[in-house]
């Protein structure tokens, strides 16, 4: 035996051990399946941004006019921005996601590049399959570069998979990055299949066109943008969910009330207002427990998730992220009864109200603008009061704090009565009104969480990234920029009518409010769905490049974008926290400056790139080392790329 072993060991092959339990690129990219799996990694990467508490999408939203970081017990980055939004701040929590955005983005760009680099490796039976897959990879890459440039402006630019320990990356102008992405997407829209030929969760043709629309708007190509929207709307693949899709007289459960949680056949009903509301187009569109979000064609790109399946992704934790933190509070009681007793039972086995409305943490807290002002019946006349008919704001769909009742045993006579913000003497009964006390669109965020049914954080749910309603609002915007105010008003009203909003926009309204009219409707329709910070940045970049006068009477210049921009002016106008330097309970104050339009690149990322200067975002410490960004030369779509720096002979 020894001799046999010796002979065996003497052969050259003895030291060649191949991996047994993982795949290598060589044996993975031999066919379409292998490459498709990498496309799916990119899609899962997009989903990761919007799915979970503290996700990147939440951070994007707190850099806008509709929300702020509500975690007031931690000095998070995006509250006192002048102090904490720095390249040195390395906390990586829900209020500080600039780091995560940055590295997840490039990881997913690598995934897209993997597909593009290897697109010619498998033997393809037809161009159709090859080009659909390549087009999908272009979508993923263009999606992430869109996000990257909206967040950081000029950026490092890679178009191939890096295969050596490179550390000499340099910054490219965002404009030249966009040109390449538009070239790629224009190619992709010819090849990517329509959504109805693909499973839910995959990128269809309309999704490609929708992203291209945003790029066209960004580069002030308004007609092209409008045309893309027309194609999507007229494709026949996607339809808005309307009352016609709803069974007349049926109800829908928002909040716990009729789920058999204990498996004993008894459906739980907790105290407080009814959780059963009449079904309407909007709450049907957003109802997901049982897969509702997959059953409509309004979705253009939806990410699929459900509890307890092979392939289940993590929980959305949507109530935890977006809901008021009336319950949890170190036992101290965030919300007191008028007698001064702790109002809410926050023990997870006992607390009914937390189980019913969700155990919010108030991480993203609406501004007065998104919580109150946009819901006026008539935007031109606040005295007419609030629109209580609009499906998106009607009672039951929207959580009002007085839907919640005192459920703590020590609440005494107040037990079972609605929460109050003040006692009869006018004293505040709530510890922290930023974090503990606000209303929000419950219909959009409430999904049953089976992980701890007495502590509803928000369970696995399918999530919309793109849906047709936004296409109407993008077309409204494209029309607005071209001066077609009536066209813009018409598109806005399509969305309003579906929601049974009372007021109808006129061409005059759009002309007067300008982009504000569209931003208002987006806030009503897409709160917590759109990337609001990025949308404002896009519009700010447009004003800075097209020279048009904004509704506030100002014009902007791209060269001064870090000093004077529409993003900052809009946030300061609508976001009362930043405008009024609202203090938090630990004494932090909300502050903001124009250069915050783009986020700081964490200094460790820049320091790791020792071979060349990677620019810091202008305005932040370290930008003094910046060098002029490179300009990318557009490469043709359809074939693997050359590294942009190599293409410049660097």
């Amino acid at each position: 035996m020894l001799v046999a072993l010796m002979l065996d060991a003497c052969s050259d092959d003895f030291l060649n051990e191949n991996p047994k339990s993982f795949l290598s690129p060589e044996n993975t990219f031999v066919d379409a399946k292998g490459l498709k799996a990498v496309v799916d990694a990119g899609l899962q990467g997009i989903m990761f941004e919007i799915n979970r508490d503290g996700g990147q999408a939440m951070f994007d939203n707190i850099t806008s006019d509709v929300m702020v970081a509500g975690t007031t017990d931690k000095n998070y980055m995006w509250q006192d921005c002048n102090k904490n939004a720095t390249p040195q701040n390395a906390k990586n929590k829900e209020g500080v996601r600039n780091m995560q955005w940055y590295y997840e983005t490039y990881k997913n760009i690598k995934n897209a590049n993997t597909v593009i680099d290897n697109i010619n490796v498998p033997k393809w039976e037809s161009d159709k399959e090859r080009n659909h897959l390549l087009g999908t990879a272009y979508f993923i890459r263009a999606y992430f570069y869109y996000m990257q440039t909206m967040h950081f402006g000029n950026s490092a630019f890679v178009l191939t998979v890096i295969s050596s320990a490179r550390n000499d990356f340099q910054t490219f102008t965002m404009e030249s990055i966009w040109k390449q992405m538009i070239t790629d997407l224009e190619w992709a829209e010819k090849w990517v299949k329509p959504a109805n030929e693909l499973p839910k969760g995959q990128v269809g043709n309309s999704a490609v066109r929708m992203l291209l629309t945003k790029y066209y708007l960004l580069t002030n190509q308004f007609k092209k943008a409008e045309d893309e929207c027309d194609v999507i709307i007229n494709s026949g693949v996607h339809h808005l969910v309307t009352d016609a899709d709803v069974n007349p007289g049926s109800t829908i459960d928002i909040g716990m009330g009729s789920y058999d949680l204990n498996g004993d056949g008894i459906k739980e009903v907790f105290g407080g207002r009814s959780v059963t509301v009449s079904a309407d187009a909007v709450n049907t569109l957003h109802s997901d427990y049982g897969g509702g979000r997959l059953l409509n064609s309004e979705a253009i790109l939806v990410f699929v998730n459900a509890n307890n399946l092979d392939g289940t992704q993590r929980r959305a934790k949507s109530m935890r992220s977006y809901g008021p933190n009336f319950g949890n509070g170190s036992g101290a009681g965030r919300v007191k009864t008028p007698d001064g007793n702790n109002g809410i039972n926050d023990k997870s086995r006992k607390g009914e109200q937390m189980a019913k409305w969700g155990r919010g943490q108030g991480q993203n807290r609406p501004t007065n603008y998104s919580q109150y002002y946009i819901w006026n019946k008539n935007p031109n006349d606040p005295s007419q009061g609030v629109d209580t008919v609009d499906y998106r704001h009607k009672r039951g769909n929207w959580l009002y704090m007085n839907d919640v009742v005192y459920d703590n045993a020590s609440a005494g006579d107040w037990y079972g009565k609605p929460l109050r913000l003040y006692n009869d003497k006018g004293d505040l009964l709530c510890q922290d009104t930023i974090r503990n006390w606000f209303g929000y669109p419950l219909y959009k965020f409430w999904v049953l969480d089976l992980h701890d049914t007495r502590r509803q954080d928000g369970g696995e749910a399918s999530l919309y990234l793109y849906r047709l309603a936004e296409v109407y609002l993008l077309r409204a915007e494209a029309r607005f920029w071209q001066g077609d105010y009536q066209g813009a008003a018409d598109d806005i009203n399509v969305i309003r009518n579906r929601a049974h909003a009372i007021y109808q926009y006129t061409a005059y309204d759009v002309q007067r409010d300008g982009i504000g009219a569209i931003l208002d409707e987006r806030a009503r329709e897409l709160y917590g769905e759109e990337f609001r910070g990025s949308e404002l940045t896009r519009i700010a970049l447009m004003f800075a490049t097209n020279g048009k006068t904004a509704y506030n009477g100002k014009t902007y210049n791209i060269d001064d974008i870090s000093k004077d921009n529409f993003w900052y002016d809009r946030v300061m106008e609508k976001n009362d926290f930043f405008r009024e330097h609202t203090p938090t309970i630990i004494g932090e104050v909300f502050t903001l400056s124009p250069y915050h339009i783009f986020w700081p690149i964490n200094e460790t990322f820049i320091n790791a790139n020792v071979g060349a200067v990677l620019n810091q975002t202008p305005g932040y410490l370290g930008d003094e080392r910046n060098i002029p960004p490179l300009v990318h030369k557009v490469q043709p779509a359809g074939q693997p790329n050359v590294d942009p720096m190599e293409a410049l002979g660097m």
Binding site: M1, L2, L5, M6, A9, F14, L15, E17, P19, S21, F22, L23, P25, G34, V38, D40, A41, Q44, D73, K74, K83, N84, T86, Q88, N89, K107, N108, K110, N113, T114, A156, V161, I162, S163, A165, N196, P199, K200, G291, L294, N305, N308, L309, G311, Q313, S330, G331, A332, G340, N342, K347, T453, E603, T604, A608, N609, V610, V613, L621, R625
Partner: protein, 1148 residues
Amino acid sequence: MKKLSINRYSLKNQGVHKFLLVMKLTLMLTLFFAINAASAVYSQKTRLTLNLKSVTLEKAFDAIEKETGYSFFYHLDRIDLDKRVSINVKDKPITEVLDKILDFSRVDYRIIDKSIIIMQAKEVLERNAQQKSITVTGKVVDKSGEPIAGANVYEKDDPTHGVITSSDGTYSIIVKSPDVILVYSFVGFEPQELHVANRKLIDVTLLESAIYLDEVVSIGYGTSKKKDLTGAIANVKADDIEKIYKPSSVGDLLRSAVSGLRVSYSTDAKNTPDFSIRGDNSLTANGNVPLIVIDGVIYNGDLADINVNDIESVDILKDASSASIYGSRATNGVVVFTTKKGRTNKATIRARAKYSILTKSRRLEPWDKNEVLTWKEDVMVALDGNYNGTEEYTRYTDPRTLSGNELDNWLEGTDQSEMVPTWLGRLGFGNKEIDNYMAGKSTNWANYLFHTGQSQSYDLSISGKENSVTYYWSVNYQDNQSLRIGDNFKNFNSRINIDASIGKHFNIGMNTQFVYQNEGGEPVKDDYYTVYSLYDSPYDDEGNLVAALAGSNVVNPLLASEYTDRKFDHYKFFPSAYVKLSLPLGITFTSRFTQRIEFDRFFEFKSPENPVWESWNGQGTRNHYQIYEWQSDNIFNWNQNFGQHRFDITGLWNAERFQSWETNAFNQGFEPTAVLGYHDMSLGVNPLVGSNDVAATRTALMGRINYSYGYRYNFSASYRRDGSSRFGENQKHANFPSISAGWTITEEAFLKDKTDWLSYLKLRISWGINGNSSGIGYYDSMARMESSKYLNATWSGSYFSVPYMFISQMANSNLAWEKAQSLNFGLDYAFFNDRIRGALDVYSSATSDLLLYKKLPVITGFEGVMTNVGNVKNKGFELSLNTTNIKTASLKWITNINVSYNKNEITSLTGEKVAKRDADGNIITDENGNPVMYEPDDISSGWFIGEDKSVVWDYKALGTWSLDEAEEAAKYHQKPGDFHLEDKNGDGILNIDDKQFLGTRIPKWFVTMTNNITFKSFDFGIVFLGKFGYIAPFNEAQNNSQGYIKNNNTAAIPYWTADNQVKDYGRIQSTADVPFSIYRSKSYVRIQNLALGYNFPKSILSPIGCSNARLSFNIDNLVVCTQEWDYGDPESYRELPRTYSFSIDVSF
């Protein structure tokens, strides 16, 4: 004619040009005895002048050699070179000179050519023949009366005339006359000389030699006598350690035994600490583990597998030349364990039992039930924006201390009878806590998390020799607990070592170890033991465990262990079979085949009864892990002596293959019942399976030559070529040479016996290159895809899972061996008759091509790549000092001190230089206009060129801001009580430019001192251990963690208040513009062990057939003294125990 062999003669003259004479001499001697020639003519012509007064004969020979160019040849044992002679001649023939200084009653000489050969005189031989011979018999035993088999007994004047003791220690020798002096010697013992003087029965007791120079030390694929060593090898005899205390693990055995070997602490029941030799040579943490060798075979298993009682000796190969024998994996040194073998014909039975109690020693404690109220009040005031900390009283003040208006204000209209509950509510206590407080109830959480642990160990071994078979058999059972409740480790270990001689030339044998280990159930979770509210309780009124406790996300620590059914055990089988062929001329060939077979099971069921896990509806895991590894070692050895010249040549051919298979099964949602637990995994509805198989191979070729001349000069050279499958396509092989030499100065004539204070002095020097491959994974040179799944759905809403995958690792086909080149100077010394002895080693090593997971810019989309970059240097020294302070018949006191110092420095990281830029980003140029190039630090990994690998680079905290400094603090957005961080460049902004090097995380100094006092039948030992020169974060001092402000208890450490402006501790919720840590020195001295033992006297034991019996009592970790580390033990915040042990050890 008496046959003479060349190796009995030695070359006197040490000139290099004489070296080749050896071979010539062989020829001459043959010739000489063949013709029996008389003095040659040449000698008559040689005349010389000499004037010597009372010099040794050896000196006289030297003088004659110098004068004449003649060389002396003689048998070392037959001439008394120390005899004093005087001579004063002028221009006399050499024969006359020789006649004058030689004693012809004993020796004669012949001169051939230019050689003078001294031989035994004919007359002596004749006279001896005439005298009446005597037969002497007797027994040779050791101190304990144990017979010594194989001891040498020979005539001092004629060492060729001798016998060897039999297995019962007896001997019989016929000596020539009563004048004969007999020498008794055995390896490891001091030789004894006795004058026969007509005695016919001589029993001898040999004492173990103090300096162990004759000891055999394992040098890897062979052995060497300690006095022949050229490298830095430390040897530990288990028996010596056991004299001081009885170690319960291999880690305990080694911790204080050897300088340069650093053994850390492990607080769990399994008790397998990390250990390292001579600092970190690698940058990757897992790359710094020394190689373990058991009985000549590389052991890739766990240190806990080795039964400490089976160990005979441990050799630690520290320098490159010693370790390079194991080339590829020896960068961090090699620890060689030799297990016990049978020795004597009579079977030796040894039984041991040990019982230990583990108690709390130093622990970072939470506040007690009164203190916590004060602390909580201060927390609430600090968090309430309405107060600034200087108020007389606040709404959080205990109302019972208030009266009058103050109380009325406090009450805010609340009913006074309810004021205490109201107050507690304001402090953040929940209803249950308030009720408990009012009822005078509180919980001591330590009682639920920690206990007094008990450990026991039983050991039985039988060893002996039957005819040509030696055997050693042992069984050991251990049951260990730690301080943490539910942390158990059971170990059943058995070993058989058998060796049989078959005929003259063959030995076959097998060393086999079988281990069963059970790691027991899930221990309680004690990680957050300080946060539990003293007024909360883990049980509700009905006695059920509650899910959530007071505080933020505080899970009941008892739940997981209560509701987890865990089976975690290991079966390990390690047989090593060998055949050894012994050929004439000192040639041996050993072929060894070793297998390592391991089965591990990890079964776990998390019950749905646990309210926290309710939603899983039962979660089962069943993991199987299996290892099969083989090694084949084929060793050739040639060992031959030519007079003073000794050669030992070794060749090795080795191949090995490691394979492992892992299977994971997981399920959730057990329906209709979870009662079967992990026994029926099919009942779950959400199954997941996984697997991970691995294979890796290695080969090695090695050659080594050891050459010694007398006991003065030693020389060793080796060369090893290694191959490993882990490296890149192009870099599978690497070569590792080494060379070393030793010079025993005290063996030189000019020192030998010249001084009575210096008894031994040896200089050693070694150089070598070692390799390292342990820092990398099996397939790190290859690109890797990672895969997982997510969901898609049909348009009708049916879900289906979709695989996704991505490249997670880029390939590196040039991934190559990490190499360490090191130089070692050593000095072994002994003074005053060995009363003071020890060794000093000074070393310097440079590791290059470091195997490093290099972080990449995130833009690449990869986190990093395993690659060879950078260099690390280690410099240091090791000093061991062993003193015999008192040595009388009944009292002996020995002190042993080991000191090691190591300094680590990163000399290069990537090797890539980049242009230096100024603050504005412009490239700095030199006078010729070329850019100034430099190699940048790796800031993201915390590695800096020119600094220690473990250097701390952070903001320097200068203590807290005082109230007077409020204005200054505000510049940094801080308040009094926040930590003042040094703004090094004074630009008013804290950023990366203000970070400083604050110290290292790894101790520079490691010192142990052992004292062993023997008084009659009692012995007493005390071991001190100190670590110096290192710092660690103590961020508790910031008093601002989430756990701190959100829970109802925390670690009881000071905090800054306006009334108590402590410098070292921050205010509650202290802040700073930048993240930073507070560092404290961890330096400490510990009384590692205190031992008291009693050996029962022979007079009691003999009648009951017992040869040895010993009782001992030990205290481990008696006390620890720290400089700055005021809370908890520097090695563990909470679990390092103080252990009291009783043991009994009986041999038959």
